[in-house]
């Protein structure tokens, strides 16, 4: 990778000064995005495409100037300052300033533009937000923070953003208007997680024993792994379609299933499909985790007089757990994404907004589905990383 930081010879003698190539690249991109892409756009109404607001016009507002000032400081910082916590602090502050600035300029910009006019977040906002996020990630990675601390930082950032949003600062932005229209936003979130984890739980109950079986029997492995890999290659929409047919036939044959809420369309085929997708990572990681155990440890456990069940629960499972959890991490992030696709067949969850928004060409509604999906996947991955860290504790 060419994007690595290095110390300018001689410069390293002066404390804290460096030249960071990755930082310089990200800074350049940020400046380009700031100049070329609109931070916010004005829309005549909900559906019609908006027009970018010029940078000069934005620069009239003091909050935006504050953001610009912080941004310049950050871009300089990530390029020349070698202390990673300074870079992290600057980028985080700037991101917050961006959120605050875009919110506070909404009502003055919308003055005298009619009841249907909206101020939407433009491509510039998302690009700069993403680049600031990359700067934060880079700093966090180079600080070598443990997952626990990363989780704390992310929680603090999300908390700050949520409190800005709930303070009403963004109420005039179209995204929040869209949010106000959706009474079931949080319920959809619950449903999204329910669908994602509702398929993970049975996959664990079946996948872990199957994985242990694959570890013990080469015959089972040579049969199971290719089969599950094949399932994995079926595209998600095709899978939903494939499952709808037998489920429909089944519910026609047994109407009692209908009363249990199982239908050819909706949540049932979605959960079933996600369950099938979940099997491969869980089975293969369980098998890999058990394969990787030190034979001397297993030999010792047997030699101590542990029976098969005691060996499994007291030795093999705890030692294989980190590898198994990294399989779970794959499954959970994958499922949170796939549940969004299940919105198309009426499964519910944030995917519903995405497909409604696509149908109505309402970008903000699409975003209202996409953003929380990304946040959920991101946080879930971090939570599992933290669990992995705990399960590895003291093990060296």
């Amino acid at each position: 990778m060419p994007l690595v930081s290095y110390q300018v010879p001689g410069a390293s003698a002066r404390a804290g000064i460096t030249f960071d190539r990755l930082g310089a690249t990200l800074s350049t991109l940020t400046l380009i995005a700031l100049v070329l892409l609109p931070v916010v756009t004005l829309q005549p109404n909900r559906i019609l495409p908006g027009e970018g607001v010029e940078l000069e016009q934005l620069a009239r507002y003091p909050t935006f100037m504050l953001f610009l000032g912080l941004l310049i400081l950050t871009l300089t910082g990530v390029t020349v300052v070698s202390r990673h916590w300074i870079r992290l602090g600057l980028a985080t502050l700037t991101l917050l300033a961006l959120v605050v600035a875009t919110g506070s300029i909404a009502s003055p910009l919308l003055d005298n533009r009619g009841a249907f006019a909206r101020l939407a977040l433009g491509s510039g906002f998302w690009a700069i937000g993403l680049l600031l996020g990359l700067m934060m990630t880079d700093a966090v990675v180079k600080m070598g923070l443990s997952a626990r601390w990363r989780l704390v930082i992310v929680t603090v950032c999300l908390g700050a953003i949520v409190s800005v949003l709930s303070s009403g600062l963004w109420d005039h932005l179209s995204l929040m208007l869209e949010y106000r229209n959706q009474e079931r936003f949080w319920a959809q979130g619950g449903r999204h997680l329910l669908l994602a984890f509702g398929s993970v739980l049975p996959a664990l109950l079946i996948g872990v024993p199957l994985g242990i079986g694959c570890h013990r029997s080469a015959a089972l492995r040579t049969f199971m792994i290719p089969l599950l890999s094949l399932l994995q290659t079926i595209p998600s929409l095709a899978m939903f379609g494939l499952l709808m047919i037998p489920l429909t036939l089944l519910t026609q044959a047994f109407p009692v299933l209908n009363e249990l809420g199982i239908r050819g369309i909706g949540a049932a085929p979605a959960v079933l499909a996600l369950f099938l997708y979940s099997l491969l990572p869980i089975v293969s990681n369980t098998a890999a985790g058990f394969d990787g155990l030190n034979p001397a440890v297993i030999d010792a456990a047997r030699g101590m007089g542990m029976n098969a069940r005691q060996r499994l629960w007291q030795v093999q499972l705890p030692l294989a757990l980190p590898v198994m959890l990294s399989g779970l991490r794959i499954v959970v992030t994958m499922n949170i994404g796939l549940v969004a696709v299940a919105g198309l067949i009426g499964g519910g969850g944030y995917g519903t907004y995405i497909f409604q928004g696509l149908g109505q060409t309402a970008t903000d509604l699409v975003l209202l589905g996409t953003l929380p999906t990304i946040v959920l996947a991101f946080v879930a991955a971090l939570v599992i990383d933290t669990l992995i860290e705990f399960s590895r504790k003291e093990r060296g």
């Binding site: 030190n294 010792a300 030699g303 007089g305 030692l319």
Partner: protein, 317 residues
């Protein structure tokens, strides 16, 4: 007493252990020695039923080991292996407590036993009990492996190359400790090793194996004096044999009154508990024909001459 009778194990085409007969007396250390792949580990694992024999029997104090379930049998027999196999997710305390917990000992009993064992192995409880294995040195891990094997007061301890991966100094120290502990507890030990020095230093009985068969077994002295032609002679060494024999005997066997010896005023000393081999080395080092022998308290017991050592083994070829 442990008796292996006509013990045989076949893996597919391969006979790993071939009609092995061996008796180990209670309270003794028996070393199984031989080249790699000769069936030592297989023999050992048939004693705690990690491997079931194809034919033959193992008796412990006259009792057939098949009369008991493998798990119950193994909880009665200590087992320490090369690579140690400590549980990496458990502290030193919990590792040692493994078998007592399987046997449902009470909390107080377990606590007392762990303290006792750590003390026995000269590892302070406060420093080590709550460490995790990866923080320990190789020698410390091996000690904990031995402590774990001894936890439930087994009468029999099986050890598979327990000191194989250690540096020579640490190995020698642990061998010394093992012998001391074994004598103190009066347990029976069957130990697998590659290393003739280790077998001679530790064992009361050495059993030499080759290609699954027992070639010869006996005390270290007997083996060194009268090795069978071929593999056993090769293993016990040619010229080294004399030195190895000397290593088995102590200075106090050859002490003479000082006035019988021609000596100079200030003789270098040897202690009475030293091996004759080490005493010989001191004679050579100081260039003396005679050294003064002292006991642990420093009292002079007499002298030992170079000639006496050179004539100590009349079996030289």
């Amino acid at each position: 007493m442990i008796e292996l009778k006509q013990l045989t194990r076949v893996f597919g085409e391969r006979t790993a252990v071939d009609q092995l007969n061996l008796t180990v007396n209670s309270g003794e250390i028996c070393a199984l020695i031989g080249t790699s792949g000769c069936g030592k580990s297989t023999t050992l694992k048939m004693i705690n039923r990690l491997i079931e024999p194809t034919s033959g029997t193992v008796l412990i104090n006259g009792e057939d080991i098949r009369d008991q379930s493998p798990e119950l049998l193994r909880r009665r027999i200590g087992y320490a292996i090369q690579g140690v196999g400590l549980f990496p997710h458990r502290s030193v305390y919990d590792n040692i407590a493994t078998v007592p917990r399987l046997l449902n000992w009470s909390r107080q009993e377990i606590d007392a036993r762990v303290r006792e064992l750590l003390e026995l192995l000269k590892m302070p409880f406060e420093t080590f009990a709550h460490q995790y294995p990866h923080r320990l040195s190789g020698g410390e891990q091996q000690r904990i492996g031995v402590a774990r094997a001894l936890a439930a007061r087994p009468e029999l301890l099986l050890m598979d190359e327990p000191f194989g991966a250690l540096d020579p100094l640490t190995r020698e120290r642990l061998q010394g400790e093992l012998k001391q502990i074994q004598r103190m507890l009066g347990i029976t030990v069957i130990l697998v090793t590659h290393d003739m020095e280790e077998a001679i230093r530790l064992a009361d009985q050495v059993a030499v194996m080759d290609a699954g068969r027992l070639l010869q077994s006996g005390t270290p002295q007997a083996l060194l004096r009268n090795p069978r032609e071929g593999f056993v002679s090769q293993l016990v060494g040619g010229e080294d044999r004399a030195l190895r024999l000397l290593a088995l005997r102590r200075v106090d066997e050859l002490v003479q009154p000082l006035d019988q010896l021609s000596f100079e005023a200030e003789l270098p000393t040897v202690s009475s508990g030293m091996s004759l081999r080490d005493a010989l080395a001191r004679h050579l080092w100081y260039g003396q024909n005679c050294l003064r022998v002292v006991d642990d308290a420093g009292n002079t017991l007499g002298g030992i001459s170079l000639d006496a050592i050179l004539n100590a083994e009349d079996q030289r070829p």
